[in-house]
Structures are given as C-alpha cells and as structure tokens.
Amino acid sequence: MRWSIEHKETWLHETNPTVKLLLFLPMFIVIVFVHNPNVLINWTIGFTALFMSFSGYRMKHMLLFFVPFFFIFISTSLSMILFGKGETTWFRFGLIHVTEESFYRGVHLGFRTLLFAIFGLMFALTTKPVFLFYSLMQQAKLKPKYAYSFLAAIRLLPIMLEEFQTVHQALKVRRAAKAKGFRGKLELIKRYAIPLLSQSIRRAQRIAVAMEAKGFTNERARTFYYELTLGKYDVYLFVVICMIVAMGYYVADAFPYVPIKDVR
C-alpha cells in the first residue's frame, strides 16, 4: 500500500512475492515455539538489520515506521510484567505483582510481537499488492476470481476514502459527526458505515458484471499481463533467513544476555 513513499528498489523487492510469503509465514509458527528470550533478541537484531539495510527506504521513514512498534512492545509486555505468575518477587503493590519470571516473560512477548511486526513491515514495504496477487495466481494457483477481486477492491480504496470525506463533511455540517458514550460511538460508526457500505456494494455489483463480461472468471489456462518467475534473489532470501536463524541460536547459546532459557 505504501509504494508511493520514495524508495529505492533493492533485491528484496525483486524476490518473488509468493516465495517471500511462504518464507515469512512459517516464521510465525517457529517464533511462537521459541521460549528462550536470548534467541528472540538475536533474531530481532538480525532481521531489523536485514530490513534496515535492504528495504530501500530512507532511515528517516524507517524510524517513523518503528514508532508504533514501541507502543505495542510496551502494551504487550506490560500486562504480563505486572500481572503474570512468578516466584521471585521484585515488587508488589495492590494487584500489581512484578516477579523476575513475569518480567522476562513480558519482555520475551514484547520481542516476539516486535519480530512479527518487522516481518510484516518488511513484506508490506517490499511487495506491490498487484505483483503479490499475480504471483499467487501463477505460483500458488490461486483462482483468478479471488485474485482479481482483491485487485479490484484495492483499486476501489481511493474512491472509498473520498466518499468517507464527503460523508464526514456532510455529518459535520449537520453537527452529527460527534457522539458521546459507548452506545453513541457505535451509532456514529453506523452513520458512517451505512452510506459507505451500501455504495461499495452497489459499485462492487456493477464491477462484477463488467468483469464477468470480460472473462475474468475464466478458471482455465489464461495469460497474464505480468509474468512472475522465481529467481536467484529467492535463494538469497532463503539463505539469509537460515543464516540469521542459525546465528541467533548459536549466539544465544554462546553469549546469553539474560540467564533465562525458558520463560514459561
């Protein structure tokens, strides 16, 4: 979505989107089954370095992207630090009970979320949605009706944003753009959602008719405007990920930062 931000095209942009997705998604499962904070800290450093060096974006922009990560780091780790179970008490005040175990577990959770976020950002910033869906059709055999629906929907976003502004201004003029309380807020969401959704549905219907007429439902062999293939950069990415993963384990074993090997 963010390809309008000025950047250089690096080898990460050249990798096949499907391959990238298939390399990144399993990392979620791998990370969930790692319980040693040292490993996660090393991986965070490694993948942040990969992202910073090869995303092709300016340092200024990358640091801005990292701002929300700071909040989610705090918010995911804090509940566990303050309210987690543990034996060695560090601090107790009313309901708050900070222990050594819960502290490390909280920090571990923070790094876990950070890693997912870095993978997500790395993918989103180096992949054009158009190529992603073309590649999914060609390499992953996704049915064209799904892929082209996604592509059409993405193209509709600017129109939706414009409509949102129109509705917002209309409500403002009528002094109906604010509401109090939980109920009022839900009503407010409805006030925005009904016109936006109904218009989107009508538009989707019209576009679907046009797309059907032009043969976008054709499930058999078809040609593509963009031909995406696999290349050497996919191998590079695979090797780099394997290296960071292996190094993370090795360094965690040889030079641990924290004395805990399992946070459970």
Partner: protein, 194 residues
C-alpha cells in the same frame, strides 16, 4: 436456483466489504493500545471489532464460505495497509474466520438471526484465544486477571461482532442494497405464483 460455490459477484462483493473493514481493523490497532490502561483489560471490550467482517459479510451475502473469505480478506487488507502486528494478523484472521464459518455451517447456513451471529462471534473469540494461548502465554497471567481478560473479550465480541453487526445489516437492508446480493429464496418464487 442456487448454484454451487461462490460466483465472481459474491467474491468481489465480499472482498470489497471486507477491505472496508480491513481499514477499520487497521485504525482499530492504535485505538486498542490507546485504551490499554495498564493491563486492566478494558481494551478487550473493543477486541470484538476484529471479528465483524465475517458476521457482516455472512449476513449480507448468506452463502457458505463467505464468512471465512471475508475475515481473511479483511486481515489481508489490514496487513497490506501496514498493520502494527504484521504477519500475525493473517493467522488470526484465518482461524477467526474459520470458527465463525463452522458456527454458520453447524446451522447449515439456514439461520440469519442475532443469536447465530453472536454465536459466531463467540467462535471467533475462542479462535483468537487459542492463538493467544500459544503466542501470548495468557495462561501465565494471574487467575483474576485472566478471567477479566477472557470475560471482557467475550462480552465485547458479542456486543460488536454479534448485536452491532446484526443491527448494521438491518440498517443496510433498509437501503434496499441487500436485495442485489442474496440468492433467491423459495418465498421469492412462491410470491410469483400468487
């Protein structure tokens, strides 16, 4: 009458509606950690918004597979818009959509009332809790805190993805737009014979 599987029209409408919710999911992120007042789990009350695409799409289009597709599409939209949570939203989206879909399948896609969508919201909540269990060690929270956490998430899910989603679709029905979407029913054919 009804053809098997989803047609391009169904898929496109589902995806378009879902992408609208995908943007909502994205802006819901900052809201979620803004209302996180030091772990008292008030934030869990608004977690249910992340289940709403499945229930709304199902109520609108009323076909098998729509709930799962909508939730996955909304998660993809959120992800491509640059979600703070990154890739994990795709996993959450998939399991949440899957459990909502299973609830609808359990009623053989024949019921479209507020009870069924609330049940689907409960299904999505359970799915999200299962992922949280592995990802977030939530079983390691103090018991009172965990109870509050789970309770708040269920309540929020039923209010937002159940009751609110239902009232949203009811309001959309009033605009007449839903007539474009739904498969023709037996009543429609019967009304022709009168």
């Amino acid at each position: 009458m009804q053809t098997k599987g989803l047609k391009l029209t169904d898929v496109l409408t589902t995806v378009v509606v879902a992408i609208v919710f995908g943007i909502v999911y994205k802006v819901w992120g900052p809201l979620y950690y803004a209302v996180k007042p030091l772990g008292l789990h008030l934030d869990q009350l608004i977690y249910g918004m992340w289940f709403i695409a499945a229930t709304v799409a199902y109520l609108l289009i009323r076909k098998p597979g729509v709930a799962l597709l909508a939730e996955v599409a909304a998660a993809s939209g959120e992800f491509l818009a640059g979600s703070e949570w990154g890739l994990e939203v795709l996993f959450y989206g998939f399991v949440q959509g899957l459990l909502a879909e299973l609830v609808f399948a359990a009623f053989r896609y024949k019921r479209f009332d507020v009870a069924v969508v609330s049940l689907a919201a409960v299904g999505s909540t359970i799915a999200s809790l299962v992922v949280d269990f592995y990802k977030g060690y939530i079983d390691q929270l103090a018991w009172w805190n965990l109870t509050l956490f789970i309770g708040a998430r269920f309540v929020g899910a039923i209010i937002i993805a159940g009751v609110f989603a239902y009232s949203l679709v009811k309001a959309l029905e009033a605009t007449g737009v839903t007539q474009l979407l739904r498969p023709t029913t037996k009543e429609d054919y019967d009304s022709l014979d009168k």
